[in-house]
């Protein structure tokens, strides 16, 4: 019974959370064009328009940066020009501030 209740609640919660939460993030997959102290430029495809463009994302103390599976500071991530990058932003709050940055594990 607990399992059934848990599944039902999870389903309802996920359906609600899905519309409430998932509508806001936007994920860009692209390559790094340049890196500055608190921002980076990324060339990526816009999922809606299917056009490539170069965008600038701000990096702040709320940005979570993952090098592989490891959470690191922006400087410690040593982001390289031309490497692959995935940037997630919140379209409602600030479409140009990176919430999450993902990079391939260091070799």
């Amino acid at each position: 019974m607990r399992a059934i209740a848990a599944v039902v609640v999870s389903a309802v919660v996920m359906a609600v959370a899905g519309t409430a939460v998932m509508a806001h993030p936007m994920t860009y997959k692209g390559t790094v064009v340049s890196v500055a102290e608190a921002s980076l430029q990324v060339k990526a495809m816009d999922d809606m328009t299917k056009k490539e463009s170069t965008m600038t994302f701000k990096v702040n103390d709320k940005t979570k940066i993952y090098r592989g599976e490891t959470l690191v500071a922006f400087a410690a991530a040593k982001v390289q020009k031309d490497e692959r990058i995935v940037v997630t932003v919140n379209m409602d709050e600030s479409p140009d501030a990176a919430l999450e940055i993902r990079l391939a594990a260091a070799k």
């Binding site: 019974m1 607990r2 209740a5 848990a6 609640v9 999870s10 919660v13 996920m14 609600v16 959370a17 899905g18 409430a20 939460v21 998932m22 994920t27 997959k29 692209g30 390559t31 060339k43 990526a44 495809m45 490539e52 959470l71 031309d82 692959r84 995935v86 993902r102 990079l103 391939a104």
Partner: protein, 198 residues
């Protein structure tokens, strides 16, 4: 004199009815929303009503599960899976769903929650809180009760969460098939399998 007492009672009833009607008229069209914080008096009233209704024996029940690291971890895993959608991994309630319901999910690290007894926490987890978003999780089984007591241990631990524990919980949070697919797409892309844009 004997006739005045029933007459007074009728007057009291009439005044009470008039006040109720007045309040109803005043509130009409005031609007409704689940996106607000309870007023202090409202919250105090709800809490004291809850305390009043929970039987003394349940309130004073000691936690049979010792606060071992294993018990806290078990509670943490369970919390990440079933509770964090409303309460957030850190128990703050600062998450879309918890903030948008009325009453909102409380910050369980606060005095208001931490001053509840282990027995009271156990009781509300097992039986839920009527007229709120808090579901009942108990099923009456001994195994279920055990895991609820572990949850109580974890709630006591909320103030001392480490970054490593937070990350571990993120991995344990439920994900929809769409989330899984997106995570896989990202992994594929970063490991060089996806289409590259140059």
């Amino acid at each position: 004199m004997a006739a005045t007492r029933p007459r007074r009672a009728w007057i009291a009833v009439a005044v009470a009815l008039a006040m109720t009607a007045g309040a109803a008229a005043w509130l009409r069209g005031a609007g409704i929303t689940s996106r607000r914080k309870p007023w202090p008096l409202e919250e105090a009233a709800a809490r004291s009503m809850r305390r009043y209704l929970i039987p003394g024996a349940a309130r004073n029940a000691p936690n049979p599960v010792s606060p071992t690291p294993e018990a806290i971890r078990a509670g943490m895993a369970h919390f990440a899976d079933h509770c964090a959608t409303c309460h957030a991994n850190d128990g703050s309630g600062d998450i879309a769903l918890g903030r948008s319901m009325f009453p909102p999910a409380p910050d369980m690290r606060s005095e208001a929650t931490q001053s509840m007894t282990d027995g009271e926490l156990f009781y509300v987890i097992e039986r839920g809180i009527p007229f709120t978003g808090m579901p009942a999780w108990g099923n009456g089984s001994a195994e279920g009760r055990r895991s609820t007591w572990e949850l109580v241990r974890f709630i006591r631990h909320l103030g001392q969460m480490t970054d490593a524990e937070m990350r571990e919980m993120e991995d344990l949070n439920p994900r929809s098939p769409a989330d899984e697919k997106q995570a896989k797409d990202i992994d594929d892309f970063l490991s060089g399998r996806g289409k590259i844009i140059k």
